[in-house]
Amino acid sequence: MRATWIIARAAVRRRRTQTALIGVIVTLCTATMLVGLALLAAVSGPFDRTFAQLNGAHATAQFDSAKVTEDQVAATAQAEGVVASAGPFPLAVASLGRPGGQTMTTPLRIAGRSAPGGGMDELRLTRGRWASGPGEIVIGSHTRVGPDGALGESFTLRGAGTVTVVGTAYSVTRTADAWMQPDVVRQVGATGSQMLYRFAPASAQTAEQLTARMAAVTAGLPADAVTGIASYLTIREQAGKGAKTISSFLTVFAALSLIVAILVISNVVSGAVIAGFRSIGVLKAIGFSPGQVTAAYLLMMTGPALIGCVIGAILGNFATSWLLGQFGSEHLLGLDTSPAPWLTGLVVIAIPLLVALTALVPALRAGRQSATAALAAGAPLTGRGRRVQRRLSRSWLPRAVSLGLALPVVRPARTLLTLIAIMLGGATVVFATGLLTSAQRWNDAISLEGQVQVEVLNPPAGGPAESAGGERRQPQGTHLTEPEVVAFLRSLPGTRHVTVLKQAQVTASGMTQTVGLSAYSGDSGSLGYELLAGRWFSGAGEAVVGPELLRLTGKSVGDTLTLYIEDKTVQVRIVGEAFGTHEEVFLDLTSMSFLENTDMPSRYLVGLAPGVIADQYIDSIVNGGNAGLIAAPPESQIDMVPLRIVIGTLTVLLMLGAGLGVAHTVVLNTRERRRDLAIVKAVGMTPGQVVVMAVTSMAALGLLGGVLGLPGGVAGQQWIIRLIGDSENTGLPQTIIDVYAVPSLIVLFLAGVLIAVLGALIPARWAARVSTAAALHTE
């Protein structure tokens, strides 16, 4: 064992470049693997994890303070099945406004809580601090306050004058939209109170169970005392939908990072072992047994790998925290931004094991290899190598180039390993950019961001404006009719199209659950829904539906669908299938004209002309004399920035790993060819030509790697995006699948060459500086 240790230690110390490269590569791959595993863990049931961590409320009930006393509300905590409760909290409903007059929010549910904790429905402060007195308010992280955000800003609030947002807080079941101290809420004008309930988990799994539980809770109270009941299942479903797509993409990238990290490590380690084969003959000649030879090589690899692994685990923890922290909405990936300790431990154990295993195969081969054959390694070219050299030497190519092109043929095993490294890097770049484009287009298709830049609400008017204490008290909404709002918006400069939207829940034939209905009037065809089949509706009696509805009802485009809303029945013909719309139904408002005469609020979707800035357009609504309208950019389905950051970071890590893998191979090649390099320099090749020779050999592999990796990356992207579509039970528009334009393919193809050339450049320059005399000394 001592002799084995001597050999391994000497090799690690002496081959500093190789040792450092292996260490850095293992560091990068460890960090990448940890990030990947943490992402996989994060996308697994984030809502349920967060709900458990924050002791979320299974149900939230709101009570009318005029119909029921606080004591009566508090007594509901004793109802059968309730295992925990919180409240009653005073509840007010009001909008925030600007001193100048603009209404900034829809009516917010403002609950009075003295502290964010409390043992149930714990509120997690995401920014700032808790409100401590009058004039301070904490906004829910799910609440959109105008186009510019809110922390530190002041707003007007009915009954409270000016309030300043001192913090934002996250509630897992969104029990309220904002919080103030209880006394302050009462001052604002609390018209209700709120109770939160938890039940035994087994009796809170389904909507039916929760309905039964709440019936028991509210039994004995006056019938109209309860003004609203919210179930955690609704939030969970919404969170699941929102997170599902982003989770799919993150899962893919996390899995890719694991696979590529494993392949890069395997490639590098086995290459390093193979490179040392010549020493095997010497070791065996002086009496090393096959087992000792194998052990020496294993030790050579696992030493630097252990150090790289520990450093990589530390870096991976920081990287994971930073990356997960990019996803501001806790529903998406949960509260934890650091990898679980067991994940770190798993990686720290798995990586050295991986290194040892990938070293074992060539190391075992090394132990079994014939000593005489090993001693003969590095002998002059024979057979295949000579033939290729001769052919190339007769070509018109410069000598440095022809020598470089022949190099890969001489060492097929090494060439194969290098090629794999380049293919991995190239395919990763192609795959990553393609998938990111698909994700972007997916988001565009379902969020209509390209077509709708401003959403306008016209809440029911809340009274005339009046002045009080120098401040203008803002009325809610306007007295404008729907056509008047449309005419007003169309009159504003920069308006390209206006569509009116009314939404409701309806029942459809063949379905047990209700589905979302969106009834449009105006320029709905300009909304830009991506159609998987058929066409957009053109008038009454036609509808476009989501893929999930077709799947659940067994219907297809061309069939008739019956819709039930309240006591009305409507029959429509399905003329199209819209991507990204799950089980929703879209139709013209004239198909359900009875909706026009209801109190159902309308939303106005405004598309702007090119070059018009949304914020300025929103200001023009206020300046146009209709400050009661609430205008804001539409909510994005997927916040693409964090996804781009994560995918971009992983891609860079993987490319670095692949690039360093190539550099490592070139270093090994260069060391092996020292004598040949010295000979060509001795006969007159300049250092620059030596660089050309070394880089040419890698560029050739880079070209080949690009040719092989590019279709692999494209095929991978198309396969994965289809898989994601299948997992969401939807077809995909071709624009989401086919994302590569020819110019971008060329650029991506050259990525493989670039990886190879850059990876070869530094070792090539080092090779050019090798002392000729010293190198000719080499055995």
Partner: protein, 250 residues
């Protein structure tokens, strides 16, 4: 050389050189090859070789390229296996040994000197020499002491910390010889020991081998160099096409 590199004592205390004929008559063969064949596919490496080498004898094997000289050396070293026939060295039948046993045999029974030195690039000269002793479990201090003495005896003690790339060809070969002698082998095998050396270094190595044999070291040398054979060997075996073509006493 003032001291015996094998036992690090004055040559005079090792005893006078014993004539080769006397050795062959008095002692059982140290190396015995019987009917050894070696084939590489269709190519014949050795074609029925019978050869004996007595303890203390110095045998040079000569012949054209491809005649089987190196194959013979590799088989005697246990680095290669014959296709058929038997090989016995120091009473141990190599053809019956597994890889592990062959490795132990190489550690203890033989020392090898190569044409291209084959020192390990990652170890300085001293560590290269010590390695074979450390393999058989010799304590560090003892191994170091012997290695230093050998290097000193061979005139390269001052280069003990140099890496192989920093040594001249002659220095490397002397380090290789020192390594081969570390464990006091029964048999020293040399494959073209002067092939890669300049004439002066080659002369030095020839002198070294001659001195070794004079104090009883058994040598099997493969060489093209007739001068080396005449100076260092007591018998020359000529190989042609894998067979012993001729044997002559020198």
């Amino acid at each position: 050389m003032t001291r015996c590199p094998v036992c690090i004592r004055s040559p005079t205390t090792c005893g006078p050189p014993v004539p080769i004929v006397a050795i062959m008559m008095q002692t059982e063969a140290l190396v015995r090859l019987s009917g050894v064949h070696k084939r590489y596919g269709e190519t014949v490496g050795l074609d029925g070789v019978d050869l004996e080498i007595a303890p203390g004898e110095s045998v040079a094997v000569m012949g054209p390229s491809g005649s089987g000289k190196s194959t013979l050396l590799n088989i005697v070293a246990g680095l290669d296996r014959p296709t058929s026939g038997s090989v016995t060295v120091h009473g141990e039948k190599l053809t019956a040994m597994g890889e592990g046993a062959l490795a132990r045999y190489r550690r203890r029974r033989i020392g090898m000197v190569f044409q291209f030195f084959h020192l390990l690039d990652d170890l300085p000269a001293l560590d290269n020499v010590m390695l074979s002793a450390r393999l058989i479990g010799t304590p560090y201090k003892q191994a170091r002491s012997r290695a230093l003495a050998l290097l000193d005896e061979l005139g390269i003690a001052g280069r003990k910390d140099a890496y192989p790339q920093q040594l001249s060809g002659g220095e490397r070969q002397r380090a290789g010889v020192a390594r081969a002698l570390m464990n006091r082998p029964a048999l020293l095998l040399a494959d073209e020991p002067t092939g890669a050396l300049d004439s002066r270094s080659g002369e030095q190595v020839m002198d070294l081998l001659l001195d070794l044999n004079q104090i009883g070291q058994t040598l099997l040398i493969v060489t093209h160099d007739m001068r080396l054979a005449e100076r260092c060997a007591s018998r020359v075996v000529h190989f042609v096409d894998g067979r012993v073509a001729e044997m002559e006493a020198v």
